[in-house]
Subunit: 201 residues, 2 copies
């Protein structure tokens, strides 16, 4: 029941948009239509932004962050605390933590988690660079900000072992009820963690 409804160029635009996370086939179509209808305010600026970003992006050789400079802005920022190193799975996690404004140390991007299912071992992760980076440093706290999933926790476990020789203090993020979260909607694991980490008021 596929109808030849619009030209191939429009179809290809819908296809390309539909591959973005968060855009399904319908929203891709709506976005394509908006782009086509507002060529000067939407389509042309996006085309330019994509081309400029493609030309400018670099992966930081120190931490694995994506930026337009190498080393990245976070690695060279003198105001950040060198005694704190936060290990994350992905660049998006840095962005999320930076939005929260809670952390002022350095970062290290693993590029994923260990996964027996996907055959992703330690070699696939940015771990050697991490070990190089912390070698010889003293008074360092390494915060493992990894997902609270089986794979994230397996990765945290592996890293804790690897880091045990370094003398750094290794910590992990706290678990508990998310802010704004309603108890009735939480899974049992989160509830159990929240109970274990309860505090006096």
């Amino acid at each position: 029941m596929k109808v030849a409804l619009s030209g191939p160029e429009i179809e290809r635009l819908v296809q390309a948009l539909g591959k973005l996370p968060g855009l399904g086939p319908r929203s891709a179509r709506r976005a394509a239509l908006a782009l086509i209808k507002k060529r000067e305010t939407l389509l042309d600026p996006l085309t330019v932004a994509l081309r400029e970003a493609a030309e400018a992006i670099k992966v930081c050789h120190v931490c694995g962050h994506i930026d337009t400079t190498d080393p990245c802005g976070l690695c060279v920022d003198p105001r950040r605390d060198d005694s704190l190193l936060c290990v994350v799975e992905d660049v998006g996690d840095i962005w999320a933590l930076e939005r929260s404004g809670v952390y002022r140390g350095r970062y290290h991007v693993l590029g994923g988690t260990l996964s027996a299912l996907d055959g992703r071992g330690p070699d696939a992760l940015n771990i050697p660079a991490l070990l190089d980076r912390i070698e010889g440093k003293t008074g360092l706290e390494i915060v493992l900000a990894l997902s609270a999933t089986v794979e994230g926790q397996a990765t945290a476990h592996y890293l804790t072992e690897q880091l045990s020789r370094s003398g750094a203090q290794v910590t992990r993020l706290g678990h508990g009820v998310p802010i704004g979260g309603e108890l009735g909607y939480l899974d049992e694991g989160t509830l159990a963690a929240a109970f274990k980490s309860r505090r006096p008021l």
Copy 2:
């Protein structure tokens, strides 16, 4: 609390994506990250698709549809029924109706609805072309597929008056319970319409 987290090129890409319908600030950031990380499979194809679409798109002078040919594919398709003309507000409505596969006639895009609030009168809509198009035709049914909103219905009312001289039969879409809709979530207007249009089983 804005942090200089990534280069201006990346920020501009996030801004440009955030203007698309369906993408808020967070999903725009996620989409930007996906584009940057998968340059060959996501970013480059989207850049090309945008440029090609921008070069190819045309507005059909007959019906107002957007396509890569003028007249558009729907206007020149010989398999479509010339005795049916469906009037819609927007190009997106054509796409939605075509997906449903229920309609095989021609279309006419108004480009919006009458709106006293936004100061949009009949002159702002593609109505003269509609009247020209149907002049002298006989045996024509004009389906007003407009939104079931105050503005959509005001537009339908106005069009019905304008079209009364043409001799065409003017119809509107049926109102009722949407397929998959649960009664408890429906507004009173829809329920009232559904009751009025009830049928024997």
